[in-house]
């Protein structure tokens, strides 16, 4: 291809990109599966709400905030025992998914909570008047009505996962960020650093526009031309 990038380096970049995609995809999936119900619960368990449980709501809120305020790199190290318990090892790409998912969950939960709270309370009232159960309201009203916000929220979470995934090199997680640090910085190969950044930018752009397109498609609150 060119004389300043060897095929070996190119291979490294492709491999690291795949590692990043793997970590981010699985972590996003787990984070969404856990964050969605958590967020919905946070949004509906306050006083006078569908699943009123004020004490539980408050405790979960504190836990979520604590997780979110811990810097990611500290979280990675702090939960090494947990990672070993779940992944069998604390080193490697698969092991890195544990802290990534753990950080993504409260992030997604808060975004889901905000999106669900945005749903007009009048709709909940109307559904109750129709004889809907709380679970039916979640399934048939809250989630569909909040869907554009939920899609954008998950998009945001994936972008932040991409940036977090650069830090899991600290536990041998691999991926693009790790490559950039090891080759670009430690071995002083600025062209590798540059390539890593370019690939990350492309990934973020792709995720962002995909998310926005999807959100627009599920949004029925704007008039179609």
């Amino acid at each position: 291809m060119s004389d300043w990038i060897s095929p070996a380096i190119l291979n490294l970049i492709v491999g690291s990109t795949l590692e990043t995609l793997y970590m981010v995809a699985v972590a996003a999936l787990i984070g969404t599966l856990a964050g969605l119900p958590l967020g919905i619960f946070l949004a509906t368990s306050g006083k006078g709400e569908l699943f009123e449980a004020v004490a539980v709501n408050r405790v979960l809120g504190v836990v979520v905030n604590a997780t979110r305020s811990t810097p990611f790199i500290i979280l990675v190290v702090a939960i090494i025992p947990l990672t070993r318990l779940i992944a069998g090892t604390s080193i490697g790409t698969t092991a890195a998914i544990v802290p990534l998912a753990l950080a993504a969950t409260p992030f997604i939960a808060r975004i889901v909570e905000a999106a669900i709270r945005e749903v007009d309370q009048g709709l909940v009232e109307a559904s109750l008047a129709m004889g809907a159960t709380p679970l039916q309201i979640v399934r048939k009203v809250l989630i569909p009505e909040a869907l554009p916000g939920l899609v954008l929220g998950v998009t945001l979470a994936i972008v932040s996962l991409l940036s977090n995934s650069a830090m899991v090199g600290a536990v041998g997680g691999g991926g693009l960020g790790d490559l950039g640090i090891r080759y670009g910085y430690q071995r002083f190969m600025p062209e590798v650093m540059l390539l890593v950044v370019v690939v990350l930018i492309i990934l973020v752009q792709a995720v962002q526009s995909l998310g926005e397109t999807l959100a627009r498609r599920v949004n029925r609150r704007v008039r179609r031309l």
Binding site: D120, E125, K140, P144, R220
Partner: protein, 394 residues
Amino acid sequence: MMLHDTIAAALDAPLFPEAAAAPPPALQPGAAAAERPGTPGAPSGGGGASIVLRDVSRVFPARGGDAPVAALDSISIAIPQGEIYGVIGRSGAGKSTLIRTINGLERPTGGDVVVDGVAINRLGDAALRDQRRRIGMIFQHFNLLSSRSAFDNVALPLELAGLSRKAIGEKVLGLLDLVGLADKKDRYPIELSGGQKQRVGIARALATDPRVLLSDEATSALDPETTRSILRLLAEVNARLGVTIVLITHEMTVIKEICHRVGVIEAGRIIEEGLVCEVFAHPRTTTARAFIGSLPGREVPPALAGRLRADPAGAAQTVLRLTLTGAAAGQPLVTRLARELGIDICLLGGQIDSIGALPFALLYVGVPAGAWAGGPLRARLEAAGATTEVIGHV
């Protein structure tokens, strides 16, 4: 009328076979209409009351520095099946709280709310949900799901009730037809006008064949023209399906347009109640009078108001406000009195209207001062059923 036809068609092919198999007496189409042939002003009175509120109170507990609020204060109302009952009151009077007790969205702190023989306020969650399916509700801001088309919005209560796709499809199309929106079934709320949205809301509220329809300021976000068309639809639904309608409003025109009876609510109490035409003709409270006075054409004409004096001394004419309802409004009263008593009667302003289906007349007339002070005029007016007030002298 097209609406008539579509409703009739919808009734010919009952969409809920189970309801048609063993209909409660009042659910039979036309039963309510037969009971009240074309005169919405004459509800059946006693009979099987469909909604009974007995000493219903709702106190919102004190919060922060505020005192507790008694939003409802021992309210008792009985609404017979098939009636359109209006509740009118100012903002904060307790209207929404009142209507929400009827489907259990609000639990009274005292008293009982009985709908079709079931004490709503004593039900557990599951039983309450079952009852709510028999009570439809429409809202000021429509509360349609923006993520669902008109069709799917109307389908929602049926999905919640667990009906099959096929049964839902047939039912929904019939309902959209009934409200005149068959051609808009795939439109999303954003693509509908306010009036169309409320029609979808009405179709949705009727989806589970309720016997009661609650309307919380359903026309307050609509312009007068659209308001009238929505009210006409509600009147049709009431006449054809025999659905009891409770509607709350702060506009007297709404009451006048379709209600049979009206309750005036103030500070959580029903301070006046009666047939709409009676309350219009003989309002007993200042609040009721204020609401009636707010109707267009009810005020003293400005040109007259400027000349009006309170002091009769030296005045040539006494100015009267005559209120005539029903049969009285249909008589040639003014000309007959003028001829028989040999006096001149000067028409100064007023309005001829109908309330429900009853004619209603409100007239400002000037009569010779002497004829009012002496003469048989007062007695003759009363004998003819006119409510007469002296409002001044010119």
